[in-house]
Symmetry: D3
Subunit: 294 residues, 6 copies
């Protein structure tokens, strides 16, 4: 082998083997039900080469990625076909990760990819709670006749876990009936517009397990323009950091995570991709902290 | 007619006929006095196809566009010629809308288009107050010899309505003499930089009628880069939402509105256009609320 | 109705009613099988407001759009669901147009939309020939297991019409087996790389009917960057004009047409959209000429 | 003065004083009658800092800018007001340049700026011929009621000079009546689409004086996307070079020149600006050659 | 000289001669040690033509640029070669400015350019304090073997001035060892993430002299995307304004300033350039205030 | 290992091990002497994920990448420091590839990287000829005092190989003295502007070995805008294809190759990156053909 050459294109610092890892990061590049602007299929591929713009150390969490054992599993491959095949493929992969005692950290793709990931995680952790950060309710019962869709994903998860298990934050867009489903009928806990009650809700769940799904469009489009459906009035990155420190302080175990809806073709300046990578770093550090505790 | 085809390209949900409508939305695509970066002539045309990215329901106002009767009047057509012809054309059109008992909601174009719209509204509502949201004072007496200009528009309105009738918010750019005109000589009420006193000022105007003109560059360029003269230090979208809730709570009647200065060619990510559409939705909901009350 | 307002957002000059028209233009905004960069779903919506940048007169063909009776049917609406539903929807619509004695001119979308349009046209004109202009063979028998795909569309049409009915020009990308299918086994007539033999082939078809499908990526990416899979070495716009003049001179009747694969999100300068509109104008003029002859 | 600092922001190599110069380059940043996409007002300002990307030597003409005495006069300043004032301002400036025995080389701006420049040049050289390179005829008698417009500029020049004095090349867009004015009624010499007859026409004008006006949209949008109305089917840069070598070989004296219609906001890659600068260099070399001969 | 022409391309309003000036603005277009995305070499050239988008008056500081005597020295010219030559060139130039009794205001370029500027200023003002605003610590002792680098610049300045002389604000990225150097070992004063303690620290320095260096990436990427290494979680422009008002109120003398790391090629909307220009205006006003006092 | 995951991010189809390979592809991401617009350091990283947009089969050469044994060696890593270290690092790596009996195919970076690669290849093949395709002569003896530079690279190679060994094509920019060095003094063979004599020159070299270096800016900026110094008047992609077929037909052995000067940040549409990848595929096919013959 010639010297001076490096053909490692994985996320910088995520070079543990699958066997030696505690956390497995991978991309789920599916955007097949996106009704408006597509392109989230390119998110994880765009994030990898830019991760080097970050430091491995998080001054906010005072934790360092070099102290984590992370495997970059690369990209999922979806045979062309119907949505159900994609869902099954993701569920199988996440199950294999969970069965091997590792924690999945999935990069979407559109939000529908969360459904099979949650299903797989619930098999191992049937009592896990779902923390959902998003601009949109994602609580429709169907979208133009489609039962499985980016706009119905949390409703489908509610079908599985029922009431009092889903916590939604930052929501600022949806049909009136969706807000009624959450706020009036209390099928989920919902804090619209803001993320100020995360710590308080986590406090009630001491000792419990939590899956976290972050639709990056919860962030204001000023800091995260690179997404299919930008919605003004979102949270700042600092407010999202308050979520991270709330999880760091809380007595819960993160058992899985995903971040979805980066659409790189709308990210001309590269800022959205850099933001997604920083969120990824913090999420891994939070997944790892709990790994050490248990 | 073949099935499965739809050739309605108006703003989604604004499909009332002129006769059946309470509110008339239209574009005034004029940018002829723009001294720096032109392009606001394309604003309304860029907004229409993107409006579908929004929901019709506003969780902040808890009102729904489906409950409004709105007519999309399309675009004004300006014969080429001098500025005065454009001003006359706008004044005529707005007068026809107001005379028919409907409320005008105009999309600029540069800010000068507000002058003839206000003149037409004042014919029907001679005591109406002007609420002006902007980064710039627009209080010059002339700009390079031009009496009618985007930089003189509020001064021209002051020529008509006089003192104590104009309320300016969010202003953060202008000549010293313009700030003196407002702050020292009190020809207008001006809150520079912020919009914290809107509710308090509206309280004094109980029972009155108000015309609202929003130069979208009042927003910080982080959330609204797509404008000719971006000026840092602006308000956040949430602060603009506080203006909307102040109007919702206030005992005033909105009798007309405009939003100006979106310049789509500088809006590479589409976020500015999405913001303009969300502001348009909230403004229509506010125009409609009062329509129901009176 | 107030004066000075215009809410006609159809293609400029295509304002005949369906009943009064000879030609019906419409968009088929489907990109569901696109395997690389999506976005052709936005093509027709992006083209309409830019059509005004063109003159109605074609100096090359010396024909004028004002002499044609064209109906802009708007956009097709696809209920979410599987590919088969989309194909059926398009076939139904095109059938209705053809049955009404009008000629369809469809704007994709990805190339798969051509399959149902051709099927519908063949019902009325069972002996029609297919002229296919493209960078890619589109002759795969399947793509990753998918039988109906942008990469298999011409193969599916060959399944229907058989040998000696399909003429392919400008092809410069494909698997070896696809080129063998065409060049060696002569299932289609194929001129790779160039369009120099169009006139000669048309000469053999005197008195016949022809359907023309133009994948705009036949053009070199220098003049048409706004497409999902740009492939260098394509034809110039002038070479495409030689195709138009060949059709103008030929004794064949155009019975339908489509142009596909404009992807506006990759068309930062707007040039690709302007090119697509110019091609649309010339195609309509060619469809119209034959309408007058028969 | 501190060392190591340079505050010369003129075109590289055009540093003669006005008095010592043979050629005066300047910008005429006016786009007030542009009916579609504005922005040519920024052309000359965008060109200056990029000129350094070129060499001073032209291998095609085998001439070097270092052998020319060129003054960069900077930018014209237009007081806000009507079009007539702008036209008068340009005419005055060009007259001053011509009266001082120098040759004007003007950078637009929209094409209307050519009218006053030609008028000023004709005062000194009343028999000069006009060579017009463009995608558009610019022969309308009026545009939406406007007599002076980018679309009427050559017609206005014809009003002054009459038949047999204007030579048009590369034209590929216009109304039928405009082409008839030129081709049928022979009010001008017009070679549509191409520039193959330039040398032949110049041959007939041996010993004569010529003013050259280049609307850069004569170039195909593939090489020149940065313009307001891109029109496919234009000439290549090499074909434009054949125009330059034709002028170099011809026995005519260039007495003035302009290049117009670069619109930098649509030139994302910077290629159009680089092309405009290269054209500027060649034009100056051609202006200079004749200066030496007379 | 022809009338109506203006060839002054300096920053608007900075037209004092070097001799008559109090403040000298100049560009230091060096990005040779940039390890990730280069391009800051173009910052000052991009800022000049856009400065006209600003007013000369600052409503926040209530000061006007027309009351300052500023010389635009243009751009530094760096002979190609090693980094040391660049550093020496800058140090020489800044020394000449300082020796002439004027205050330097330098526009980078990457952050390394601050080192020689500070060295030159310290020669005249050996007790000056360094106020450093940045997203990054810049406290590495070396970067990939390089002792002089954008990532080591503040460490190199610490080598010169020692402890208790450097004040760092807004820092949110770095290696753990860098934060330890500052926060634990207190070699510098560091307020991470925020700028809330600026006024308090300045209060302790009454009567002292201060050099201010602003890495514009201290701003959140939402308002300043145009930089090589965008780092989410930064300060808002209003928070930066609080720094300006703190300096205005403080009893310290600003003896020099720089602003670095604008990278225009990543500033598609132009907002970052507009922000940099506004910061430049405020910094000049602050430099000038103290000039009047002493 | 979980199924359905793929973490191979190398160039599609270049998955031979180093030992099993005939050809080694690698990136040399250096742009340290670029005097105008930098960014070629990102070229190879941008090309890898886009290579999948191509087919493995070349219809022009009728060869298929699946029949080649290619190793993607990844990226070179350059310790920060002076230019000489970079040159040494490249020379070492290429020597190791050549000594192992494989052929190097290097992706720049700026053109200076060719110098050490050629030196390493000449050690094994001392009589090899250099075929140089470029817009620029690259024959300066120094650039602003720099002996090793992108503008001097071919001159430095001439220093080594002497007269009659370097063949230059497509050159259209340089100083007069550079053209004189080549055309008048015949130190190299140079065909300016065109590539029409490649086959004829290769014919004279029957049985010889050739190294090919392609500065992609030889292509016209219409098809290749994504480069630091776009120069109008370049060759079309089809003309470059004629070079490939000339090499395919010629009786010479290609012993190494490079392609340089793609700058992805200026390639907004992605077309330049797609072109670079297509050139890479053809070059590998040509390198492989000769490997089989010898």
């Amino acid at each position: 082998m010639p010297s001076n050459l490096c053909n490692d294109f994985q996320f910088m610092g995520m070079d543990s083997s699958f066997e030696d890892s505690d956390i497995v990061v991978f991309g789920a590049p599916f955007d097949g039900t996106t009704s408006f602007r597509p392109g989230t299929r390119f998110a994880s591929k765009a994030m990898r080469p830019e991760f080097i713009g970050l430091e491995t150390y998080s001054p906010k969490l005072q934790l360092d990625l070099v102290d984590c054992r992370v495997h970059d599993g690369g990209e999922m491959y979806f045979p062309l076909g119907d949505v159900q095949t994609v869902l099954n493929t993701i569920e199988t992969t996440v199950s294999e990760i969970v069965q091997a005692g590792k924690k999945p950290c999935m990069i979407g793709g559109e939000h529908l990819v969360t459904l099979p990931a949650v299903k797989a995680v619930l098999q191992a952790h049937p009592n896990a709670y779902i923390f959902h950060f998003d601009a949109h309710t994602d609580l429709r019962d169907e979208l133009d006749g489609a039962y499985f869709s980016h706009a119905t994903v949390i409703r489908r998860i509610h079908d599985i876990v029922g009431d009092e298990r889903i916590f939604q934050f930052g929501i600022r867009s949806g049909m009136k009936s969706e807000f009624d489903f959450a706020l009036q009928d209390q099928h989920t806990y919902m804090e619209p517009f803001q993320v100020t009650t995360v710590a308080q809700q986590l406090e009630k769940l001491a000792g419990e397990k939590v899956y976290i799904t972050i639709d990056l469009d919860i962030l204001d489009p000023s800091i995260f323009p690179g997404t299919g459906t930008p919605e003004a009035g979102g949270i700042t990155y600092r407010e999202l950091e308050s979520v991270f420190t709330a999880f760091q302080a809380a007595d819960v175990e993160l058992v899985g995570a995903d971040l979805v809806e980066l659409s790189p073709d709308y990210d001309h300046s590269g800022v959205s991709t850099a933001v997604a990578n920083k969120v990824l770093r913090e999420i891994i550090l939070l997944l790892n902290k709990k790994a050490n505790l248990t």
